[in-house]
């Protein structure tokens, strides 16, 4: 696994590269370690508060540990009327965790998302941004098996 300092150094000379650096860190870690935020502040020569402010502004960035495979359930109106709540219940039951939590083995994280732009096949969930279409509670075990 690439060290976050090395990743940050790759982006520090890119104008406005802080968010790109955070994305790259998440591709390795699935989250942004808190120390990486402070390292980024130093590399981009901005106050820690600003580096932290950016990292916590965007819902796809997460400071602090979470599961390796991030499952997001779209909750926006088209998915809402298509039964997203049943998918949420099925995921929580299957993984034994609540929305916003990660499994104890660190394999999965469960998050709400707003529209992921795949509204031709609602409800939609994504795992590490890969979309799954017309999701029903019955489909959940098969989807999760891909990542176990």
């Amino acid at each position: 696994m690439a060290n976050y300092q090395e990743i940050i150094d790759t982006y520090k000379d890119l104008p406005g590269g802080l968010i790109e650096a955070y994305h790259a860190i998440q591709r390795e870690y699935s989250y942004i370690p808190e120390e990486a935020v402070f390292a980024a502040a130093q590399a981009f020569n901005i106050p820690k508060a600003e580096a932290y402010g950016v990292a916590t502004f965007y819902s796809y960035l997460k400071v602090g540990k979470r599961g390796k495979n991030v499952i997001r359930i779209c909750e926006s109106a088209p998915c809402h009327i298509a039964g997203a709540d049943k998918v949420v219940a099925a995921l929580e039951k299957e993984l034994g965790i609540k929305m916003g939590e990660s499994t104890a083995d660190g394999v999965f994280a469960l998050e709400f998302a707003e529209c992921v732009g795949q509204c031709q096949a609602t409800p939609v969930i994504t795992v590490n941004c890969k979309p799954y279409f017309d999701v029903t509670p019955e489909k959940i075990p098969t989807i999760l098996a891909e990542y176990k």
């Binding site: 406005g16 968010i19 502004f57 965007y58 819902s59 796809y60 960035l61 009327i81 707003e114 732009g117």
Partner: protein, 407 residues
């Protein structure tokens, strides 16, 4: 029935999007070549003549916008493509970028030539990392062929903030900051990315440009509605038989979209409402279904064309429940910079929740209308200004649904 007309999706299923040779074989980059034989002003005049208005939702005259940046003498100018489509129910820009990325690059390069810019950015939403890959491949191929000349394009990825669809928030995000909108003026065409003149246009807007240069502004002006010419890509979601995308002339009516292209309501049920333009759009009752979808006709009925999302609800849908969900969306997506939006979206969601769960107080509906009115004028950016629209339009057209929650 009205016919589909493909301008921005003209190459759909006809070319391999990842092969630039396919795009070149169907005449790709000829419009850019043509533009470069014209004067910059002639290019802008041609776009102005077409009457093309922004396809991201604000509907500003595209050529006019370009002329603002053209008129400024600056050592650096930028062309930015807004590919941050975040309006729930919208995926038209994804369809364009997945199927014909080169047409977007060509449109941006034409803009670059017209305003005098050699640097473009595509700000693609974080939900679409697979589209970012397509765009990067397309850029590499275009550079390899040398078709872009000295115009450079870079992709930046958003990270799940709806507000970044607002152009000044998007610019802040490219600069590596929190995506909070700026106070305007100055507007981006004058002072945008890193303080330089910047044109921000939507994916669909740019995708129209090569065709306008090829066939001429007069040709384009003759398509669809006179005040908002051309086509619009719509995405149909909800209780409609064909949940699909369609590109239609802008004089097509809502009824033709839902019952023609959409195939009507699932299960033969009755229509209840349609929300057009994304989650910030107004709810439209049956009485207005014969309205053409163009920008001004939609505004005239108190709705919007917006992003072109068409979210259909059948007679069994609980409108108040749907609007509560939408109110939650805005509370979540408000960036928090201005008080009317930060507090307003929170209180609106709170009241919608109370109404929906049967715990609202008498007078709450009037209070919601008042709050919505204040937000419409007092919020800093379009997010907060449009956020109350679903509440206000449903209070207007579906008040009995609200009243039923008090029983």
């Amino acid at each position: 029935m009205a016919e589909e007309m493909r301008i921005v999706l003209r190459n759909l299923d006809k070319i391999d999007p990842l092969k630039i040779d396919d795009y070149l074989a169907v005449g790709g980059y000829k419009s850019l070549q043509k533009a470069r034989t014209m004067s910059r002003l002639e290019v802008i005049e041609e776009v102005k003549k077409s009457g093309l208005r922004g396809r991201g939702g604000a509907g500003f005259n595209c050529g006019m916008k370009w002329s603002f940046s053209y008129n400024i003498d600056s050592d650096q100018k930028y062309v930015v493509c807004n590919a941050d489509e975040g309006e729930p129910g919208t995926y038209k820009d994804r369809i364009i970028m997945e199927n014909d990325p080169q047409t977007l690059l060509e449109g941006m390069a034409i803009c670059g030539y017209a305003i005098g810019s050699n640097k473009g950015y595509i700000y693609c939403r974080g939900e679409y990392p697979y589209v970012v890959e397509i765009l990067n491949q397309a850029i590499a191929q275009a550079k390899g062929k040398g078709v872009l000349g000295d115009f450079d394009i870079e992709v930046r990825m958003g990270a799940g903030a709806y507000v970044c669809g607002e152009e000044s928030a998007l610019i802040e995000s490219i600069e590596g900051h929190r995506g909070e909108p700026r106070f305007k003026p100055p507007f981006p065409p004058v002072e945008g990315l890193w303080g330089k003149p910047t044109i921000v246009n939507n994916v669909e807007t740019f995708a129209n440009i090569p065709v306008i240069l090829e066939k001429g502004g007069d040709w384009y002006k003759g398509i669809g509605a006179a005040s908002y010419p051309g086509t619009k890509v719509l995405t149909l979601t909800g209780d409609v038989v064909n949940r699909t995308f369609v590109e239609v002339p802008t004089n097509t009516t809502i009824r033709e979209v839902i019952y023609g292209f959409g195939g009507g309501i699932i299960g033969g049920k009755n229509f209840k409402a349609v929300q057009i333009g994304g989650t910030s759009g107004g709810f439209i009752p049956e009485a207005f279904l014969d309205t053409p979808i163009d920008f001004d006709s939609m505004t005239a009925i108190g709705a919007v064309l917006g992003s072109g999302a068409v979210f259909v609800m059948d007679e069994t849908r609980d409108i108040v429940d749907v609007v509560e969900r939408i109110a939650k969306f805005f509370e979540h997506e408000s960036c928090g910079k201005c008080t009317p939006c930060r507090e307003g979206t929170k209180r609106m969601h709170e009241m919608m929740h109370n109404v929906n769960s049967g715990t609202a107080r008498a007078g709450d509906l009037d209070l919601m209308e008042k709050l919505g009115g204040v937000m419409g004028v007092a919020c800093l950016c379009g997010l907060g200004q449009a956020a109350p629209a679903p509440v206000l339009t449903t209070l207007k057209h579906f008040r009995t649904d609200y009243a039923a929650k008090f029983n």
